[in-house]
Chain length 329, copies 2
Amino acid sequence: MEDSGFPLSPTVAFATNRMATEFAIPSQVESAATKMSEFVQFHSSAGRRVVLVTSGGTKVPLESKTVRFLDNFSSGRRGACSAEYFLASGYAVIFLHRHRSLYPFVRKYAGVNLLDALQTTSEEGSVTVRVEVDQKALPNIIHVLHCYQAVKKDRLLLSVEFNTLSEYLHLLKAAAQTLSPLGSKAMFYLAAAVSDFYIPASEMPEHKIQSSNGPLQITMKMVPKMLSPLVKEWAPQAFVISFKLETDPSIVVDRARKALDTYRHQVVVANVLDTRRGCVVIVTKESQTELVLSDEEILKEVEIEEKIVCNLSAAHSNFIEEQRIMTEQ
Amino acid sequence: MEDSGFPLSPTVAFATNRMATEFAIPSQVESAATKMSEFVQFHSSAGRRVVLVTSGGTKVPLESKTVRFLDNFSSGRRGACSAEYFLASGYAVIFLHRHRSLYPFVRKYAGVNLLDALQTTSEEGSVTVRVEVDQKALPNIIHVLHCYQAVKKDRLLLSVEFNTLSEYLHLLKAAAQTLSPLGSKAMFYLAAAVSDFYIPASEMPEHKIQSSNGPLQITMKMVPKMLSPLVKEWAPQAFVISFKLETDPSIVVDRARKALDTYRHQVVVANVLDTRRGCVVIVTKESQTELVLSDEEILKEVEIEEKIVCNLSAAHSNFIEEQRIMTEQ
């Protein structure tokens, strides 16, 4: 059998049981859940849609006192950038991201050493020293700062951080349960690069693996696919988008379609590692839409996430309308 | 046999051969070597000591088109912080660090969102908008900025970046060969968390490993210990410090001493994961010195790296003097 059986017949009970038994609840989940709940109440009473954007890679420890870990390639650029376009489209955003991955707005200056962008100035006769930004070093800073401050003033962006796979899984569950009361107005945009494999706590060595013991043999179990309980149990009425990243272009759309068949959510954004910044395919049960940046758009530094978010927020509007009609019938 | 034999009988040829055959030379090594060479010439003609500080963890790809990788826990704090104290002690510093790990001076503001620390101001009647730092958000910024600018003006700090283990190994070799002409005036402060294990390119799958194929089995080879060729071949007269990080306090000093016996370099800084910010042991062939922060020092936010660098730069002075006497005899 090519498939182990699990991804093709995911049972909600299996995934949630495994999560409960093999991933201890991290300490920060409770306070994060409270914050998310307040955030959702605030915006839902204003009639606003709320999207959960997940972003960045998950860390999978190989030792319980962790020195080594398995990680997934992800700067968090797609998630951070998409969050900005969701904000511009009127959504409130819960940004569930890997600690130190890229963050909305400030991500534009991720490559700049802050100290290279600052200078001290003082006015004649004054002892006050000011520290001022060299605006050439931080292009477009006034505009970006104003956007960020407007978002902050209206409390439209909530930051929640994870490091490990375990933290991610439990925070995702907490977020889903918080968003569930919004029904179809909640969107899940699951752009984080979540590990497919992990070592159960019970099988992990306590101390740092000694290199003097020779070559390293690692056996990792498959991570339960949380899309299953998310779609069927935690937030059954929400609009859910997952991502499928592959390095082999010949298999990516098939795998996206297979995921839709398996989990029965609304959209898979299919992308290939080498071309992911210029091209994605939006796959739904009924359609397959390729979004591509033209040469002109690339020159103008248009971001593919603008197109993705535009496509998905329109699809979300249709979804909300369909759900409304279905409920009325 | 507890040890596989390799770490106890490291041969220079074995390590350098393995490096040449299994780790392709990354494209950036040549230009980095040129920059390092100019830097060393500039400072050696001024009679200045030069230290290579390595910092941050190495990335070990599991696939050749990399989605997944093995990583080592390291923020790069120790390296970045030590580099500052070496600069304050009169050294010129080559800072060989993991891309996006902490960087000297600016590391003090790593937890701050830049956009939270900025505000726009404009003077009455002027159309010019300034962007100014809120100095409460970036404590001590004027002092830190002046230190950074002084270092920059005198070109005392050279930044060289790596991501993968392969990049680290080749850049270390290039740095060592560049520093070698300085003789005993060169110091190597090897604080980077280098992986002990890797997958040879020849055994790596090209594409992303499919989770549908079931549990993941990984077999990793041991990384050749480059301390061996560094000490014996690349820079035989230099003052070399390695680090030993363990999670088990009962074995750390023994392992440090074993490393000194094996590689015959000058110093191992031994530290334990949980207490590494408050306590280290400086191990040499003849001595064992514990450096500990007192409660008062912790309150005053003294950093253990200040003590480490103070101890090591004094030891380096003695070493230079001993070498001078030996050469004259």
